[in-house]
Symmetry: C2
Subunit: 127 residues, 2 copies
């Protein structure tokens, strides 16, 4: 958990995440802020924000890293929890889902964490 300086670039990224609860891919952020900061800076700030548990990340189906608000193993009320992530196959938007997924006991395996990626249509894309 590193100390984070409130630099202009950090503020810009935090503002972006505070706009909505969506999970944003690094690529989108690099593209969006290509006039404001270098891609290296984007990667490094996201890294630090995740270390500080201000953001959490997951890897989507295409192998791209996505970030969203909050710590990974707490829910929206800060209770420990693993939550699934949703990805709309139509519009590409992604978000954390405030539901709990039950993992059955599996003999011979000790499960410590899990990544759940649900793919489908968001409410704006159901045709």
């Amino acid at each position: 958990m590193s100390i984070i300086r409130k630099t202009k670039t950090v503020k810009l990224l935090l503002k972006e995440f505070n706009k909505s609860n969506e999970a944003i891919s690094v690529i989108e952020l690099i593209d969006k802020f290509n006039k404001k900061m270098d891609k290296t800076t984007v990667y490094r700030i996201l890294d630090r924000l995740e270390d500080s548990r201000i953001l959490h990340s997951f890897v989507d189906q295409d192998g791209l890293k996505r970030y969203a608000k909050g710590a990974s193993n707490t829910d929206f009320n800060n209770e420990p929890e693993i939550h699934p992530h949703f990805l709309c196959e139509d519009c590409g938007t992604s978000s954390c889902l405030p539901v709990t997924i039950q993992i059955p006991d599996i003999p011979n395996y000790t499960i410590k964490s899990a990544e759940h990626l649900l793919i489908g249509r968001c409410k704006d894309c159901v045709s």
Copy 2:
């Protein structure tokens, strides 16, 4: 679903998958067969085997593609199903898990498919 010729390289890869039920990363395969075939060939054969539903794939935590025996949306008895994948954080081995994970109904979202990656320790690595 393309027709697949039984070339030497295809046979080599199939033999590897028939050795065990593990999910193997493309990188491992490229490395293992670097004397026997080009990496392009590995990628293309895996592609075809997945098209033909002989293998299925998923993306692991590091964004690396992994392949395992069987079609993705059928279980070991060929019944339609989504199964989770396991990754041992200790030895790095990965496998399909023959259990069913229940996805709760989520208002405003239509879920079509899911990827479940469970991380922990396999039976050989519990200390």
